[in-house]
């Protein structure tokens, strides 16, 4: 389990990571999504102890990285954005070195063979890393992270620069790893994350702007339609009134605009049109609709919206603004 609490990193005046908190449960695959410069690598570097935080704590399985760095670091396998490869070594020699460096207690030869088989570089084991293609180097980086079977895997943009076939292979690998490990992996490509992760955290300008289960986020893709509303009135009344409409599957408040006004998200079955019913329901309870937008929002749209305008309040859940 990984617990990040109020983590911040300032570089002078730049807030690379600004007060983020989240928890990843054992066996969960968490996608860390954000545009370039959002603070993904900085966060991962703090989780793995490469750099220290300006404030906040990271706890791995109950061990805090500053209190017991040795024990904590042994629980983490880290694949940084640029794989830390000694390019003058052969794959096997490199993995042997990393095995010793990490002070792994497993049988050395067998374990390295097993890891090489898992990431499919057994045939390249005697080649010098310098001469390997980018895809193979990335796999060597993976192998290095897997040494010692650490319970937590942190992968920073593991598919960048790979061709589509390699990307599919790496995705499969991550999915299979998710069965045994807690995985946090970052990407600035949404489709990648939605294809592999149980849960997505969207980060933008150093802040978390969304944190939700992948299937919740992608209902729109799977066939439900959405209506975004801005309504004045008491939230509880509004939500219960909308819920009474037969085609509606889900209603949630997404954002408080002011004391009396809020934004709502209504999901309803495909093919239905609930706009009139919503209008009638709201006029019955005397709650004026200030704005109504229907549309089938894709994950891509949502990602763009979330990351293009970060608002003051953190919006955890569905969506940012319209």
């Amino acid at each position: 389990m990984v617990e990040v609490k109020n983590l911040s990193k300032f570089y002078g005046d730049i807030r690379a990571v600004d007060d983020i908190s989240f928890t990843v449960e054992t066996g969960e695959v968490l996608g860390f999504l954000g545009p370039n410069g959002a603070g993904k690598s900085t966060t991962m570097n703090m989780i793995t102890g490469y750099i220290s935080s300006t404030s906040g704590t990271v706890t791995i399985d109950g061990c805090e990285i500053l209190d017991d760095p040795k024990k904590t670091k042994q629980k983490i396998g880290y694949l940084p954005e640029i794989p830390p490869l000694y390019v003058d070594m052969t794959v096997r020699k490199y993995l042997e070195f990393m095995f010793d460096l990490k002070k792994v207690k497993l049988p050395k030869k067998e374990h390295i063979e097993e890891v090489m088989r898992l990431v499919r570089i057994s045939e390249q084991s005697e080649r010098i890393i310098k001469n390997l293609s980018k895809g193979f180097r990335q796999r060597v980086g993976f192998a290095q992270a897997l040494l010692g079977n650490p319970p937590v895997l942190i992968l920073d943009e593991p598919t960048v620069g790979l061709d589509p076939k390699q990307i599919i292979e790496i995705r499969k690998l991550i999915k299979s790893l998710g069965k045994k490990h807690t995985v946090i992996f970052s990407s600035h490509v949404l489709s990648e994350i939605s294809a592999t992760c149980d849960r997505i955290i969207v980060i933008s300008n150093g802040k978390i702007v969304a944190d939700a289960k992948t299937d919740e986020l992608s209902t729109s893709v799977s066939g439900e339609q959405k209506l975004a509303l801005q309504i004045e009135g008491v939230s509880a009344n509004i939500i219960s009134a909308i819920k009474k409409i037969p085609a509606v599957t889900r209603v949630s408040k997404t954002f408080d605009m002011s004391e009396n006004t809020a934004k709502y998200m209504v999901e309803y079955e495909k093919g239905a049109d609930i706009r009139k019913e919503v209008f009638n329901a709201m006029s019955r309870i005397d709650c004026p609709i200030l704005d109504m937008q229907s549309g089938n929002e894709t994950l891509e749209d949502m990602f763009l919206k979330l990351t293009s305008s970060v608002q003051s309040g953190t919006v955890v859940g569905k969506r940012g603004n319209n």
């Binding site: 040795k70 983490i76 880290y78 020699k93 460096l101 990490k102 002070k103 290095q144």
Partner: protein, 234 residues
């Protein structure tokens, strides 16, 4: 630490560095050995050792330039710093790797001593004493140069800066003669590497000299650890 030491050594011997360093070291020591002992017709290696002082100042930055600078450029320091190895282990591993390569170079003097023993009985006490001196000198210079390497991402800059420091150390005697302000002269005198080193080449094993070199070594290794630590907090 063992893993890092092993990798350092294999990296030296898999690249040209070890061979270049050994070639330079053997060439100059051979040259001095020939001109002092054969042409000068003496069985004392003191002159050879004395001249090697300058060569060592320039050879050591070549050995150490890669230690940290190259790790940072290739981002492999991420593997080291996120591993369970402590900073002290990392620095000591790097230091020992460089020191062992240097010590291998220095073994050439034992060969010269054996060569001399074919002609006359060599003064083994002096030879051993000087050998200790040259190792201690090397240790302190390696520590200084490892520290320089941790400050930059470019091994060329690390090497040039190290040689610059070497130049200052080698002309320290001129500085001492030039300076008229007493307290500066006093300080310079206290850090005059050549002074401490010369005692060894005369066969004098002084506790002060040993302590001097060991403290410089310890101090700069400590600085290196601190510099790594500080970088994380910046």
């Amino acid at each position: 630490m063992g893993a890092i030491l092993k990798r350092e050594l294999s990296s030296y011997f898999n690249s040209a560095i070890a061979y270049v360093v050994m070639a330079v070291y053997f060439f100059f020591s051979g040259l001095f050995f020939y001109s002092y002992c054969f042409e000068g017709n003496t069985s004392s290696l003191a002159g050879v050792y004395g001249n090697m002082f300058t060569i060592i100042l320039f050879v050591i930055p070549i050995i150490t330039m890669k230690t940290f600078a190259e790790e940072k450029r290739q981002k492999t320091d991420q593997a080291l710093l996120t591993s369970p190895a402590s900073l002290t282990e990392i620095v000591l591993g790097k230091f020992l790797g460089a020191f062992i390569l240097y010590a291998i170079c220095c073994c050439i003097f034992l060969i010269y001593a054996v060569v001399i023993s074919f002609f006359v009985a060599p003064d083994w006490a002096t030879i051993i004493c000087t050998f200790i001196g040259i190792l201690l000198l090397g240790a302190s210079l390696i520590a200084i140069n490892v520290f320089i390497s941790v400050l930059t991402e470019s091994m060329i800059i690390a090497a040039i800066a190290g040689m610059g420091v070497g130049l200052v150390i080698s002309v320290m005697n001129y500085f001492i003669n030039m300076v008229t302000i007493e307290w500066i002269e006093f300080i310079l005198d206290k850090i005059n590497f050549l002074d401490y080193y010369s005692n060894f080449t005369y066969g004098i094993l002084n506790i002060t000299d040993i302590v001097f070199f060991l403290s410089v070594t310890g101090l700069f290794l400590f600085f290196t650890v601190r510099a790594l630590e500080k970088k994380r907090w910046s």
